[in-house]
Symmetry: C2
């Protein structure tokens, strides 16, 4: 792991390179699927050790990435995400060991039962096969994603952000060294050794060898991937989350939940973007909310009632569809549960929505009829993530309905096949 | 339900018609998702009654379809599938009532548990939303598919084969009448009132309103749909199924399983297409198998060893990839388990594969390492279907890995969302 050249692949060879990577990944997926829990655990522990032993190289590589990013006058938030200091390396190592400590999802057989024909049918949880992960600046994703794939018995192909290439190469080399130390095929984890964007396009066509693509990044990246990919994509689009203050709410609780859902962190997908308030409680609730949000520095964009009651800026039709990801909140007064549910199902992004209410029937209907990945009662939307939900770790949050919905942990990286046990049964139609 | 015009939609209006159907379906999906178990059950019973009351119209409409098919000199197997006699109508009614009798999958909450933050997190099974089903000649699919979607709380858009349009219209009118009789929105089930193929293309672009497409038909139909669709597709490609006779097999059992897997029905996706035999038992097993298959009228295409031992025709490389769907079987002698698994994972279609063996370790490895939707031990591949597996009914068999794998029943037509219960918890990072 001495000096690395940034781009190990000649331009003209990109298609051949990607095909080779994909074929190696498919072959390696057989090895990791057949590896037992112990072997996968030894590999994860060896990866953590290898990263710990490569702190100096990693610091050097990260400095190189940061120098290039600064020279290229890249935005400060992106540079912040790129930086990997000693604490960040500690967290990365801890993350790998934490994934190792999760229960092994692979091989679990459920619902095994006898059928009238005499056969016994069940479902076995098995790896998906080969997972392609395309992500942006944070280099720690290289270790996180590799660990989750390895733990769940999958091979993976990683394509990190070009600005993090030096850091990513060092981390990926540690990952492969750890896998080899456990006696497994290092091609179980492959990082693209090129920053050529054509390699991403070529990867998205490898449906013969790659089972699923997980993009992590902004909407632009995800839309491009979804449009180009011939491989199924587990995708996460907008987080347009709602807090609905029902007339049956404890208004003190509602206020804390609304403020926390919006302000605990702004630039996260589970932050609230729209506050819905029942007309019956708007007169009492709106001024209190307006005061708290003003103190927090949040600008309100309101419906007509909101404008009249607390003098907010007006909300346009587009504001109901907006993911502000900052200190702006759309506010609408609604006439009861039906209108609230209709608003959420129309304008929301099916990510996370919460009702504040002590009314039994209203909370039951909200849970059933709001068509979102996470539907909550009397808690902050900011809880919607894999760690808080108990998945141990997450590879992303899905706003799709098929396969994985909401935070995606180890289970989302697996599938179930039917297993059938018999004693010579044959079928007679 | 008097005389129907075959095509109720003018050519130039196809796009607008399909958009209208898709939007109605999305709206109706909210109604059916909110309908309780009792309402859905009443609708299914009313549908069965309506079909029973429409036997005369249905016979007339089916005669019209059959007359047109005969005039158009359509293939006999297709005409056979098109015919709906009194027994077929009985079966269709029974099918609807059988779906009604299945447990309701909707609303089940699983894995509900408290997290350290105090929130309680679980997963609720919910309908997918709007399902588009594109199928070929059998008119009974209209009632089957509609019942499964209704039971699982989904709205559906049905596009049947043009040759069955008269029969399908009568059945769909019965379905809608039954839904209305139960006080529900009839747009929960909509059948395309046109045979224009452009309508299929338009449907495949309605990703704003349709959640999943289920094609039922030949490989050509499914490939066209997969390539054109912007909506996720639950697809079923080939069934290239294997019977592997391990050296630890009871050869009498192996013979019955091999013969049944191939011959019980030829034109089904779960029929065996390739027989793999361990070299250690080939001398004993091959002549017995050759004799039985000759009696059954099955032509063998063998590897070199098979040709030498029993004088079969030679198998070409393409034959290992072939779905014969008829009385032809490819036969290969392999050197043990590794070679058998490698053959299946390379040439198979990940549908259904069975090992015959009494060897504990071999059966365990086969179950784990064969990467197919249904992996079996000591039973015939012909058991791979929703009824035999205990799903009650199936909408199809998926050879995909994501979302639904193997026979797809009611559960495959649903998804899970996270539900979170709290008491005012807010998040502190």
């Amino acid at each position: 792991m001495a000096e690395q050249s940034v781009d190990r692949v000649a331009d003209q060879d990109v298609d051949a390179y990607v095909l080779d990577v994909a074929q190696r990944a498919r072959a390696a997926s057989r090895d990791i699927a057949a590896a037992d829990t112990g072997a996968r655990s030894r590999a994860l522990k060896a990866i953590a050790e290898a990263i710990d032993g490569a702190r100096a190289q990693l610091a050097e590589a990260n400095a190189e990435d940061l120098f290039a990013a600064n020279s290229a006058a890249i935005d400060q938030p992106l540079i912040d995400r790129l930086e990997l200091n000693a604490g960040g390396i500690d967290q990365m190592i801890e993350g790998v060991l934490q994934v190792d400590s999760l229960p092994d999802p692979v091989g679990a057989i459920s619902d095994l039962s006898y059928r009238p024909s005499g056969i016994q049918v069940g479902r076995m949880r098995v790896p998906l096969g080969v997972i392609g992960i395309i992500y942006e600046s944070r280099p720690n994703v290289t270790a996180d994603a590799a660990s989750l794939c390895l733990k769940s018995g999958n091979a993976c192909i990683l394509r990190g952000g070009s600005e993090a290439i030096h850091s990513n190469i060092v981390i990926a080399d540690c990952v492969r060294a750890g896998i080899e130390a456990a006696g497994l095929n290092p091609d179980i984890v492959q990082l693209f050794q090129t920053t050529d964007r054509a390699a991403v396009g070529a990867l998205l066509k490898q449906n013969a060898y790659v089972d699923v693509i997980v993009p992590r990044g902004g909407r632009g990246l995800i839309e491009r991937i979804t449009n180009e990919s011939t491989i199924p994509v587990i995708k996460h689009l907008d987080g347009i989350c709602h807090v609905y203050v029902h007339r049956g709410a404890d208004l003190d609780m509602a206020l804390e939940i609304a403020v926390n859902s919006k302000t605990e962190k702004y630039a996260v997908c589970n932050a609230a973007e729209t506050l819905l308030i029942d007309a019956d409680v708007a007169d009492e609730f709106l001024p209190r909310a307006a005061e708290r949000f003003a103190t927090a520095g949040v600008t309100l964009k309101g419906c007509e009632v909101t404008q009249q009651r607390v003098g907010s800026e007006p909300a346009t039709e587009d504001d109901w569809y907006a993911e502000f990801l900052g200190p702006t909140l759309a506010v609408r007064v609604v006439n009861g549960l039906d209108e609230a549910i209709a608003h959420i199902n129309r304008y929301g992004s099916a990510h996370t929505d919460t009702i504040v209410s002590d009314d039994y029937a209203a909370t039951r209907r909200f849970l059933t009829e709001v068509d979102s990945a996470s539907v909550m009662v009397n808690v902050s939307t900011q809880f919607a993530d894999g760690f808080e939900f108990g998945l141990g770790a997450e590879i992303g949050i899905s706003t799709d309905k098929l396969h994985a919905r909401g935070p995606v942990g180890l289970e989302g990286l697996t599938t179930q096949k039917y297993v059938v046990f018999g004693n010579g049964e044959i079928r007679k139609r």
